[in-house]
């Protein structure tokens, strides 16, 4: 159980040109300059003064035991700050938070993991960082290893792990903390669907045991499938608090430009020469007549906007967008080559490629999207296997029958029972 009472968090933003860090040199130089100015001008010159920035403003929120609270909002709305105050990483400037129970936070994948240490060593280290004692870690050790599926690599330094294994291990440790409150910030964006599903299932279990989950995500599919309550933050304030479906649609209606599909691709695992790279992919679902939908549903159009940036000049390359199912089967391969188009970029140039997948009749499930840039059969410039994930929702008539019919593709069909001839 968590109780926020009038919680605000203020940061002081300095508008003077500055480096990321204060340095002694600058402090000395700055005081010297002020002194000189004071003598010279008599009055201090009106420089742009440091300004207060309220990352959180009067947050009042009550989270009950067993709640699965999703938090959505644009970048800079205060989502991460909220989680940070809750996890005691940073202190609120005013107000009070009362928490009943132990909080485990997973604000980043593998915090404190050391690349030189083995999986086994990192489990202990990570557990200790999260506040577990050795006896607890030992008790959970096998469970963690089994969940992360890293048995064979336990004694391998984690620097040799794939990013998928890394995430699995990190999530496994945090998920086995048995905290009363689990705080998660956008960590499930990595990894294959099976693991994502496993994590979702684990979190659902955690919630079913009466524990509380607080989740921040840009991926509305994750919010919709996990949360039973959702809060929309804007400019540090709570704008809406209600059912996930309602809040998610409000969020998407309010911020048309930033939909559920915006994924930053600068830090994901990739292959290729890197002469040009994918920067982001933005997904939006459209219904009949191009109306914007809150989430993709069977039969809707999917619009992908893929932004690339070149490091070197590239000529006549192909961009491909591939949709995979849970087992990694390629379901859709849309590419520029098939439409007789290509992409050429000058060095440092940035461009967006838009794909519109029409009438996508995939069934209700999770799908991943891969991106590829290159010359067919010649060169991979940039390839990303897990660029983004989306969840298809079923349209109304499909939901009528509670039992889902297996299969991936819901083709439009009619049927007739013919008379005996």
């Amino acid at each position: 159980m968590i109780h926020f009472e009038n919680v605000s968090k203020k940061y002081v933003i300095d508008h003077r040109p500055r480096q990321k860090y204060l340095s002694l040199r600058d402090v000395v130089a700055e005081s010297g300059r002020r002194l000189v100015q004071a003598f010279r001008a008599g009055v201090p010159q009106s420089q742009s003064k440091p300004e207060d920035f309220w990352a959180l403003r009067d947050i009042n929120l009550e989270v009950k035991l067993g709640d699965r609270l999703g938090i959505v909002g644009r970048n800079g709305a205060g989502k991460s700050t909220l989680l940070k105050t809750l996890s005691r990483i940073t202190e609120p400037s005013t107000g009070r938070i009362r928490i009943w129970g132990r909080v485990a936070s997973l604000l980043e994948v593998g915090t404190g993991f050391h690349p030189e240490l083995t999986g086994r060593e990192n489990i202990y280290l990570n557990g200790a960082i999260q506040g577990m004692v050795r006896a607890e870690i030992e008790k959970k050790f096998d469970e963690i290893v089994a969940f992360a599926e890293v048995e064979r690599f336990l004694d391998t330094p984690v620097k040799r792990y794939s990013s998928g294994m890394y995430v699995r291990l990190a999530f496994a440790v945090a998920a086995h903390l048995d905290p009363e409150i689990l705080v998660i910030d956008e960590v499930l964006a990595v990894g294959d669907i099976q693991f994502q599903k496993k994590c979702l299932a684990k979190m659902e279990n955690v919630a079913a045991e009466g524990r509380t989950i607080i989740l921040v995500s840009h991926n509305m599919a994750t919010i919709l499938s996990l949360a039973n309550r959702c809060v929309l933050l804007a400019a540090g304030r709570i704008v809406t608090d209600g059912k996930p479906m309602e809040v998610v649609s409000e969020y998407q209606n309010t911020y048309q430009d930033e939909s559920f599909g915006q994924t930053d691709l600068t830090k994901v695992e990739r292959y290729g020469t890197g002469d040009a790279r994918f920067v982001s992919v933005h997904l939006c679902a459209r219904g009949r007549g191009g109306t914007r939908l809150p989430f993709p549903e069977t039969g809707s159009d999917l619009e992908f906007e893929i932004t690339l940036e070149a490091r070197e000049q590239i000529n006549s390359a192909t961009v491909a967008l591939i949709v995979y199912d849970e087992l990694g089967n390629r379901l859709i391969d849309a590419n520029t080559l098939l439409k007789g188009q290509s992409v050429s970029l000058l060095a440092k140039e940035r461009r967006t490629v838009r794909f519109l997948l029409k009438n996508v009749r995939l069934k209700r499930d999770l799908y991943t999207v891969g991106l590829w840039l290159g010359m067919l059969n010649m060169a991979d410039i940039d390839g990303i296997r897990y660029a983004t994930t989306f969840k298809m929702e079923a349209v109304r008539e499909d939901i009528l029958y509670a039992a889902p019919f297996p299969g991936v593709y819901a083709c439009e069909f009619s049927c007739q029972v013919l008379e005996e001839v």
């Binding site: 159980m1 109780h3 940061y11 860090y21 204060l22 340095s23 002694l24 040199r25 402090v27 009550e62 035991l65 940070k84 105050t85 809750l86 996890s87 005691r88 990483i89 940073t90 202190e91 609120p92 400037s93 005013t94 107000g95 009070r96 938070i97 009362r98 928490i99 009943w100 129970g101 132990r102 909080v103 936070s105 604000l107 980043e108 915090t111 404190g112 050391h114 030189e116 240490l117 060593e121 202990y124 280290l125 200790a128 960082i129 999260q130 506040g131 577990m132 004692v133 050795r134 009363e180």
Partner: protein
């Protein structure tokens, strides 16, 4: 305000209250609760330090040995400084032992917060654990070079007498000085990044004002007490006195000054650290 929760569920779980400026109450409790983290971080530092170098732990042996050879040659053979009636190599080594420990412990502690930036911005735990645990890896080195010293003493045919029981006390003094100074500079380092460059300079200057390669008797009498403001001067004297059968006599008032400075360092260091700790995640 009225209590909105039912007592039955609320009492089963520990209550944490987070309030502006009120973190003090749980702090020392939390340090106790996170005591294993202290151990694990120290263990990580030791593992990593020796995994990354090919000859591993041998470094811990080689470094003081080489420094000793150079110092003995320069101060003992070339400059022909007095050795207080003990082999010059032993005089140097007994000085090097605490100095090396202090220098490496202080450096590690001072840089520890910046090196663990990720942990500070992503997880909560009492931050004091980071710089203090960073000192532990150096304790291991101290123990190893201590073993080396005993081997060297056997070569020279000297054995320590009863005074050796005082050795842990002096080692503790060096530890406290390293923690005090390290914690202080670590906190400053978060805010003023150029402290990173100041630290090696401090260590180098420290070597010159500490009686590592020579006996502390060589300090001019009228200035002698001043040199003991450097806490390691007192520690080095103590090490020599405890290990070399009291040959270089103990300079009590100097030791007292060094001890007082150490206590001051710890108090100021921890105080400053605690005062700025809350802002670490925001400024690092």
């Amino acid at each position: 305000m009225s209590e909105p929760f039912q007592a039955s569920t609320a009492t089963e779980m520990p209550l944490i209250t987070i309030e502006a400026g009120k973190s003090e109450r749980h702090y020392w409790n939390d340090i106790w609760r996170y005591r294993e983290l202290f151990y694990f971080l120290a263990w990580r530092d030791i593992l990593v330090r020796y995994k990354q170098t090919t000859i591993g732990i041998i470094w811990a042996v080689l470094r003081p040995l080489m420094t000793m050879a150079v110092f003995t040659l320069v101060f003992g053979k070339v400059a022909k400084l007095p050795s207080d009636g003990v082999p010059y190599a032993l005089l140097v080594f007994t000085g090097l032992l605490p100095w090396h420990f202090f220098a490496s412990a202080f450096t590690e502690a001072a840089n520890s917060l910046i090196e663990n930036e990720k942990m500070i911005t992503k997880v909560y735990f009492p931050r004091l654990i980071i710089p203090t645990s960073a000192v532990i890896a150096s304790v291991l080195e101290l123990i190893i070079s201590g073993g080396l010293l005993f081997a060297l003493m056997m070569v020279y045919g000297t054995t320590p007498d009863w005074r050796i029981v005082a050795l842990p006390f002096f080692a503790g003094l060096a530890f406290a000085a390293a923690v005090g100074a390290g914690v202080w500079v670590a906190a400053l380092n978060v805010r003023y990044r150029d402290f990173r460059y100041v630290v090696p300079f401090m260590v180098q200057a420290g070597l010159y004002i500490s009686p590592v390669g020579f006996s502390s008797h060589l300090f001019p009498d009228e200035w002698r007490l001043l040199f003991y403001l450097n806490p390691i001067t007192g520690v080095i004297d103590g090490f020599r006195w405890a290990l070399l059968s009291g040959k270089p006599e103990l300079y009590e008032s100097g030791l007292l000054v060094s001890g007082a400075v150490t206590v001051m360092l710890v108090v100021i260091g921890v105080f400053h650290f605690r005062k700025t700790e809350k802002t670490f995640a925001d400024v690092i």
